[in-house]
Amino acid sequence: MSGKPVPEPTPETQPFWDGCARGELMLQRCRACGRPYFYPRPVCPACGSTDVEWFAASGRATLYSYVINHRPAPGFEADAPYAIAVVELAEGPRLMTNIVGVPNTPEDLVLDMALEVTFEPRGGMSVPMFTPAGKALAS
């Protein structure tokens, strides 16, 4: 057990975390206006419709921005310094993540580099992480 925070699903986020357990990155999409969005919630932030559905995203993303944290959060001591990143999914929405499978240095983490999702088991949950495209382990 790593001691890192383990997400606790709520009813509206449960399908996201269930997807992670299956190795799928689940997003929501509005049936009325077609816009995909993240984080999970029962209303479309673009048009206000509550007619929304879940779908499996491609898992492809690009590196949008990050910092390299030198003061580790509890549970992250062995990782420091580590990048806390925001990635832009191929479908448009952005989310926070860590970047794995590559040294977390300014030289190795280049903005707009191609990434793909991978999942880290943690405390009975599965947490989405991103790694340079082509490096993800088969799930």
């Binding site: 890192k4 925070p5 383990v6 997400p7 606790e8 699903p9 709520t10 986020t13 984080y39 949008y64 921005s65 990050y66 910092v67 390299i68 944290n69 030198h70 003061r71 580790p72 959060a73 549970g75 992250f76 990782d79 310094p81 580590y82 806390i84 990143a85 925001v86 952005r94 989310l95 926070m96 993540t97 860590n98 300014p106 903005l111 943690r122 947490v127």
Partner: protein
């Protein structure tokens, strides 16, 4: 032209001391600031009929501690800009007749944590599910994330980012109450400890103890107080996203822009009218985002604008003249201190007084670009 806000700041004061105050609790800091501000207005606590402060310890606790039974309560707690929103809401309440004289208090044992609420951790909130698992540790690890995108899009250099701290120290050097007063160089900033690359320690705000309070009342009483009235000419508030990852564009703050537009429109001013500016500076990039959001520079130009000396003593746009959160003080909710310096400058009583500071603009940040408040303060009612 008369200010549509219809109110003035009649009293303004900070706690006797700011900095490291391990002998004072959060509530004591509220009380001390309140007593000082009411005295500054030449009033007594019995004259106060409205109370506003953030949720912890909250307006009920502060009002009760002071023996006030308010007819108007505001517990708006949307981060460090909350006090700017309290001024805006107090203006509406006073116009509506809900209260005549509103006291707004801030006290925070941010460094010593005496009588302070614990930092929330864990749980199943949206940020706990979607940010905490990635090792965030407060604003230093999240508020800072957008700047790398800005640097790539607009060519801001590490040296220009560092220079924000250098420029503000030139003001702090003139302010005896500032925590850090020794002049620094870009090399000093870049040689300081890395906190969250690209941010070094000197590009991050202080963590201190202290407080401040304001007395807001109707503008028709402008001549009734010992100090010159500071007219609230315009106000604005706005929000964007509760998590840094969900900002629409990492190179700008929508909340800053919208709050600024509202305040400038209400005041009937443009950037050319502004003689003094305060921008909440939790980190070195925030003044850059603020200058651009308020329209003082074109997009992408604010880093060079600061590095060229425009915001320093003698420059054409004095900015963060108390030294800011980077050098003066930062209790955690810095907005109250930004207002206090705006009031001092308009009154003409600031330690590093700017000439002809007849209009001061204060931009407050809440959370991490999550919320914004803007006040336009003026010596005359326009």
């Amino acid at each position: 032209m008369t200010s549509r806000s219809g109110v003035i700041i009649a009293g303004a004061a900070e706690t006797d001391a700011i900095g490291r105050l391990p002998d004072k609790s959060t509530l004591q800091l509220h009380v001390e600031a309140a007593v000082n501000a009411v005295a500054d207005a030449g009033l007594t606590l019995r004259d106060i009929d409205g109370l506003a402060t953030v949720s912890a310890p909250g307006p009920v606790q502060v009002a009760h501690a002071l023996g006030i039974t308010p007819t108007y309560l505001d517990g708006t707690g949307v981060g460090g800009t909350s006090f700017l929103l309290h001024v805006r809401h107090a203006a509406a309440a006073i116009r509506a007749g809900y209260a005549r004289t509103v006291l707004i208090t801030h006290g925070e044992s941010g460094r010593s944590r005496v009588g302070a609420a614990p930092f929330p951790r864990g749980g199943s909130s949206i940020p706990a599910q979607f940010e905490a698992p990635y090792g965030t540790m407060g604003p230093t690890t999240a508020f800072t994330i957008p700047v790398l995108r800005y640097m790539k899009e607009y060519g801001l250099t590490h040296e220009q980012l560092a220079y924000v701290a250098v420029a503000q120290r030139t003001w702090a050097a003139r302010n005896p109450r500032a925590m850090f007063r020794d002049l620094i160089t870009v090399d000093d900033v870049l040689a300081s400890r890395l906190v969250a690359w690209p941010f070094h320690l000197l590009e991050c705000c202080l963590v201190t103890d202290g407080g401040g309070a304001l007395v807001v009342t109707s503008a028709d009483r402008a001549g009734d107080f010992p100090k010159p009235a500071v007219h609230v000419l315009g106000t604005g508030e706005a929000s964007e996203a509760p998590m840094i990852s969900q900002l629409a564009d990492f190179t700008e703050s929508r909340a800053f822009r919208l709050a600024g537009q509202a305040a400038f429109a209400e005041a009937g001013i443009s950037t050319a009218d502004v003689r003094h500016l305060m921008i909440y500076d939790a980190f070195a990039h925030v003044p850059i985002y603020g200058l651009e959001a308020l329209g003082f520079t074109a997009k992408g130009d604010a880093g060079a604008f600061i590095a060229d000396g425009n915001t320093e003593p003698g420059g054409r746009l004095p900015l963060n003249t108390n030294g800011g959160g980077l050098s003066y003080t930062h209790t955690g909710m810095y907005g109250m201190f930004a207002i206090q310096e705006g009031v001092r400058q308009v009154r003409g009583e600031a330690p590093a007084q700017v000439a002809d500071a007849d209009i001061s603009v204060v931009l407050g940040n809440g959370g991490m670009f999550a919320t914004a408040g803007v006040l336009v303060l003026g010596r005359e009612n326009r």
